[in-house]
Symmetry: C2
Subunit: 347 residues, 2 copies
Amino acid sequence: MVKRKKFATIKDVAEVSGFSINTVSRALSGRGYVKKETKEKILRVAAELGYTRDCTASALRTRKTHLIGVVVVDNTNPFYAEVIKGIELEARNYGYTILLVNTDRNYENEEKAVNTLVQRRVDGLIITAVQTKIDDILRLVQQGIPNVVIGARFENLPTNYVCSDDERGGYIVMKYLLDTGHKNVLFLNAQKYKYAARVREQGMRKALNEYEQTLENKIEFEVIYSNEGFENAYETFQMFLRRMKKEFKYDAVVCYNDIFAYAVIKLLKENGFKIPEELSIVGFDDISFSSIIEPPLTTVATDKIRLGREAFKSLIKNIETGSISQIILPVELKVRNSTKNRGNGNP
Amino acid sequence: MVKRKKFATIKDVAEVSGFSINTVSRALSGRGYVKKETKEKILRVAAELGYTRDCTASALRTRKTHLIGVVVVDNTNPFYAEVIKGIELEARNYGYTILLVNTDRNYENEEKAVNTLVQRRVDGLIITAVQTKIDDILRLVQQGIPNVVIGARFENLPTNYVCSDDERGGYIVMKYLLDTGHKNVLFLNAQKYKYAARVREQGMRKALNEYEQTLENKIEFEVIYSNEGFENAYETFQMFLRRMKKEFKYDAVVCYNDIFAYAVIKLLKENGFKIPEELSIVGFDDISFSSIIEPPLTTVATDKIRLGREAFKSLIKNIETGSISQIILPVELKVRNSTKNRGNGNP
DNA sequence: TTGAAAGCGCTAACAT
DNA sequence: ATGTTAGCGCTTTCAA
């Protein structure tokens, strides 16, 4: 085995170069005055010795680790994967490195994650919360530890958050469906403890109300709820289909996210439904597979990389200036082939 | 703004509890002798003061950060996403936290990533290498910094690696196609600087040779190469199709990975081919969408979460004992609906 | 069973 | 422009 070599320290560099520890420190960090030739010599010696700064030491001294904690429900979920990518990209730009922890949708894990990250003295945290409980986040706020929550809003709290405009997302989906002549809409939503689940439904109902008031037109709208994940959605929708038997009357199924939509599409195909001929399917998130699946999925898109970048920028601003930012990113309906115009809509 | 509170230190706990710093340290870390009542009192005081251990300080003193660096080409790639998940899961079990850095398939980024992680004094690194150049990894080995490479083998070097049995993967794919009566096989491979690209092709050729020797049966086998990613594969295959025009004669297209396969399926569908009626498609990796895409994709599966876990365990073993492990995980052909038996095969 | 003191590698205040 | 010194919060001898 190759024995791990001890790293050279600034002390070593000082001894070899003949300057003091302090001068070496200033030369290497670029802070403070050093004569040009001195600096050159020090840098040369440092290179010879294979010196690399020890971040653990400078972190202890300066109380800045340049580390940020990223707590996420599941990094394999394509939505979070892109958010993480955005965070990491921006963090790297700013000289930060991210500590990644998954919670597997479990609040206890989330709490543990936050605790270990605090122990590690991260400069701040970005959290996509499980949302069944938020005590851990409240505690962070109370302790004054910089943090940004992604995908949920705490309306009355002075906390940073970044999320997409989910109410508008729900609104534009419903409006689009009504405008294209759909009369029977089913919403396969996620559980309501999720912020996005609540407001997407709100947005849809808002569009529905507006439409019904202007047109005196009766629309069927039903909502069912599923736990997260392809399997759960598949099972929930399968049960629903069975209960409906032949009386399945919907001409559109809106799904809480694209993964739900994949489950719905799969089941409907298996049951002989033609999409979009017989009914339309809509998702949320526009994850990358949605454009290559069959049929390509109509969905409400958010720029997930941007979501991540904004979250990081919001965090860094909070770290540096203490200012709070609450950011809502725009959404956009991507109309693809899983929906079609059924005529006779709102002109 | 809520001012960030200074964290309580063991010194604070010592003063309040009336014991020495050292005793407090032992009580809190669990190392060394402390009387039961003393310990209880100390723990109580620590809790009152909201004490949390400062990892940056203990890392400096003990030279163990309990941090590991994970360098990955792109965390949004479903393959790597699962590998990361496996690493993170196992790391969390062992009290380690992962630092994640993307390289965007760029060697310079990989080198920078390795350098910053070394500066941060991670206890070890897990790297899915870009593979255009491996100097950075050689340097790690030479410096005696524990590391594990995922997905590539350095045959003559005493380095840790974990990969799947790609040669066998190629072999079983080709064997399966021949056994099910395919006569014209196209392989849309990745560029050959990739280890997996080379050995998958080798495995396929091996099966081909065995078959031709026993049966005196002539099989057409052609290989084309694409850069990584859906778009590149799409473009490469599109060019190929155009060049072929109407003379596209293959009854099977094997793809370097599932993402390539999605591109191929999309293009073939767009050009009116029926899958699997007219030709079979096979991928590698079995990422989660492969079972829900249309048609469900036949592919060579590896347990990616396990790949990640094994990588971490290999790393930790190397850190603790210095032993080298080279692990090759089994592969399995998942036959789904993108392939079919064309009869007249090897009985 | 507990305490005193040194020191990990770095930075920052102050002195020269 | 450079050096001296103290100290970040913890662990680790060693001594009591």
